[in-house]
Subunit: 346 residues, 4 copies
């Protein structure tokens, strides 16, 4: 029934990791207060504060669409705008959710270098229009790791946050794959967020071994005022919250989150290494997180698909994305690499 | 750790039932396509179509707040209004979610008899204003079972749907406790919904043994146009959808949903029976579903709380709500009844 | 063509007063910068600051629906609520505009005494619910003069604003008939607004002799941040703004606003006086502004209508509202009074 | 006081034309029913139906921001998208109003040829994404005349409407300068709208001699269902509606709308002709409506500004826009042309 050939399609095709599962099982005992007044939710929030070494405000939402959209809508009003990269998930794959949650905030796309915004590209967009006939820029959102598998360095984030401060912009981080960024850089979560000037982080659980649930961390706690009401009104307050929070306890308490991110990243590195000398194959972006973007020939892509492999090709002609996840099987990586070699040689 | 004295506070204090849990465990194998393109979601939808004996459109949302608000927003525009009972959950306990999802639809509260709307009370509100300075009524929403534990009979629903048809209103049913209504009446789900004229049902899973997840069933399929986009934009499309749908397979496939509802209802009946002769205690509403609403003295309520029992008292002075759930322990019911007797005698 | 029998239906049935008209004519010379960067808009804003004896922020909107809804949406978020009277225009006659502009803020109606909110009634609503399942109260809106023709005294407003401060609520005033309140009390505009603790006033021009246009005055200037963007996005920024602002110059510069309000009030007083001894007729509310609410017999109302008089009867069985305006003709008042006497005697 | 050097900045810098003014003066007699139930509004609507030779539904809004945003929001839901040109006013100059009124509909910009969308560019955007993670295209909006002064021919509109029909898209026309398009082509309004497949037209009055007010014409009347409620809720229903509708009667009844548009167009043609042989000056777009877009040197632009001329330069380096209006003075056109010649020769 489970289809292994889908292992590289998306990291959200994977299941629940054992640590998350066991925490859910443990949480599934008797009755507990609803809506987050339970002990598991308190424990998960404390884990986050400990992991991030700061007294941040912690909220839970069901998925990344909502977590990011809610956070953005807390950082601006409907007549403000949000600066994001051209490839940002909030722009390309959320069906207008940020606009919906904010009641109309416009997303402004800025140029990127290897999927990353820069102070210059932010400044260009932020200063382009300064009249009331265009939504006033108020937020910058970074995706860490980016949608093309690259990772912002702490000093890059710092430079961006300085630009933000100068221009009166709040700084949001979409951390659907934040774990993979931490793993790649060997940095602490604090170094990649509040120490570098990030106001709010949406920390993704789903792509790193959970069933549902993202955490929203406000380092700038003023911005979290009444955010619990916002979550409730937007249909993001779970009654049986323990099933969203307990898995976080499970993956945070013994660093499973980082172990799995390291594993996924390592699988991506392995795949990249195994195909680096295949004639006609080239990396579209440096492999830093858990995704490998290969430029291949169109016939090779078709042949690979014919062999049953599933992967996304939305990156442009001849571009193929292979995502590794917490449970990717190294043997399957080698098999995929071998097949890539074969179809390119054909 | 689990606190048994909280067993009567709310049916969402309960955990995940074994059937739902096992289905999740079974679903937790390998990789599966995301966003509902998986086999479990297809199976769950088929189970609903089979159970309801009709080819309805089936969607899944994370919780009842969202399910009901999304459904209502699909049935009207922002300048329309929704007729609901004074005690409707959408009016009293959703923090303005229906208004938010619909971008401003006003809820108009109508009088009820034992928590139930009537054709007369709907007509009164629907015909009160017919000018453009007031939002045009377009939807009626019923809660089945109601927030005060009563249940609409099929003929009551039919009478209401006829009124709706006559007045150009769509008919929505909030079925957070739909299972309990079916169990009480011994009716089929079809008899209580589309056969009686209901356009859309939100069937609650959370209060009947699931972790998260409500099903939205459109019997009037025209109203479901592009509803999948609506769910996505509103942050209600789960990437790992199988964990929302598999539990439904678990509780639908061998009628666990009905068995548990029967159990919860029976516990409520037992409690009512055990206290019916206690001097000073009276039922505020007939016990039909899984809730018991008792009129008691204020000191008795305080004494009960002092003994560690948890329950809601939002119904007015001296009113206490005791909710039974799928896992309520009969022994605890007897213990609660005994304590009620004691505190009332004191 | 103009129908004099409609003179008492509503004060917005009246036309443009000479002072407003002449200012428009004067403004209609050559080209002027658009969107409020013109000299007339600057002059009008200065007139307001002078009249209110304070350096408030001044904006212009096309009508009262928008002015009040925009102001309210600036004072709260979608998950907040607005406390208003049961008869407040924003609740009863704006087709859900406040909910639309705010993306879902709920209006909570409080009890009134002669159409006026009190500290006690505000407190009752504000403190009723304090959980995240219900929208958090954040604003109180008063209508001055009220929809039933009564007027808040400065000390009443002060008492309310103290309650607001205590409870963390912003205070908004719907001043569709603010002129009439000033005229009745003989108070300065400052005494009835910022000196009494009002944060924002929507000062109505339409009902006092203008074609379109209301002014929004922020005495609490922090609340006006980016309000110009809000107006623009919501379709309330006139390109040829001078035609909204010049009439204000016209009616403010020599106190025409107050003269006309005095006239309208005097007509209402006259009508009340002329019918006070008519058997079977009684005042439903004290006559303080420009409206007279009479309790009459149903047949008398029908007879009056048959004689061609137009007036509203939305106040309940046997209730009739007669509105006077800036151009109400005293002779017509006497004629109406005579007809009332006759139909009641019949 | 009036600054003639601003005559070419924007056509909304101009005042009210005599025909509109006189109609307002005539309408300013006595009392009239409010909210559009007056005779002037009925007459204006009839004039439109007569002019367009069809029984369309007619509504009035205060300005173009609102008219276009309301119309678009009637043609799609929040999870749909609107295809527009890169230079469309709704995209570049409405501060996110379409997103606000629709509660989140995304604007998708398509390539243009001389400011005009084509079937091919529409098709490219409409078919780019067909998954629920991106807003479903549902509307195409054309600006006639375009923001760069070009005009869609009837056959171009027909070709687009055929593409729309094929792809399930509604067709909206932003006619802020619709008069100028009619004047240029010598076509009837019907030929440029419903006969060519346009569903809804926003017909601009402000830029053609009115104070405030745009008309919204639904040729596809099914799409107008409850549109009056939509206008009211969004703060676009004028109480003294006669002052919005009477000016329309004024400019429609003896074809002043067309006469003025012809004049403005002729001024633009004159300006273009007078500078066509100036070395270093070139037309950026063909002059078809009332705007002239000149490519000049940056120093020349600076010199022109220094001489007191006001005009927009948002079109890119060295680009200058000169707008003519209903009251543009031919002598001033010649003076401007002479100054352009001088500064370019310097």
């Amino acid at each position: 029934m489970p289809d292994n050939s889908q292992q590289f399609a998306s990291d959200n095709y994977s299941g629940i990791c054992p640590e998350a599962w066991e925490a859910m099982a443990e949480a599934n005992q008797g009755h507990q207060r609803a809506y987050g007044d339970d002990e598991w939710t308190a424990r998960a929030a404390d884990h986050f504060r400990s992991l991030f070494e700061t007294d941040c405000d912690v909220f839970f939402a069901f998925n990344g669409t909502a977590a990011n959209s809610l956070a953005l809508s807390a950082l601006c009003q409907s007549y403000h705008s949000v600066i994001c990269s051209e490839t940002a998930h909030v722009e390309t794959d959320e069906c207008g959710a940020p606009e919906f949650f904010s009641n109309g905030s416009k997303l402004l796309t800025a140029r990127t270098e290897q999927g990353k915004l820069t102070p210059a590209s932010i400044r260009e967009i932020a200063l382009k229009r300064k009249d009331i006939h265009f939504p006033k820029p108020r937020v910058v959102t970074l995706t860490q790791a980016t949608e093309v598998g690259t990772v912002y360095r702490p000093e890059e984030i710092q430079a961006i946050s300085q630009t933000c401060e100068e221009l009166g912009l709040n700084l949001h981080m979409d951390g659907a794959r934040f774990s993979n960024a931490c793993a790649f850089l060997g940095c602490t979560p604090a170094e990649l967020t509040w120490k570098a000037g990030v106001d709010v982080l949406c920390f993704g659980g789903t792509k790193n071994g959970m069933a549902v649930g993202e955490a929203i961390l406000f380092f700038n706690r003023d911005l979290a005022e009444d955010f619990d009401y916002r979550c409730k009104q937007a249909g993001q307050l779970a009654s049986k919250m323990r099933y969203l929070s307990a898995p976080w306890v499970g993956i945070l308490q013994d660093d499973a989150w980082l172990r799995y991110a390291n594993h996924a990243n390592a699988c991506a590195q392995l795949l990249a290494k195994l195909v680096e000398d295949v004639p006609g194959v080239s990396l579209m972006f440096p492999v830093e997180a858990n995704g490998v973007f290969l430029q291949m020939s169109e016939p090779a892509i078709a042949a690979l698909t014919a062999r049953g492999w599933r992967f996304y090709t939305f990156i442009g002609a001849g571009g193929a994305r292979f995502m590794c996840s917490w449970d990717t099987d190294e043997a399957r990586v080698r098999q995929l690499a071998a097949d890539i070699r074969q179809v390119m040689n054909a």
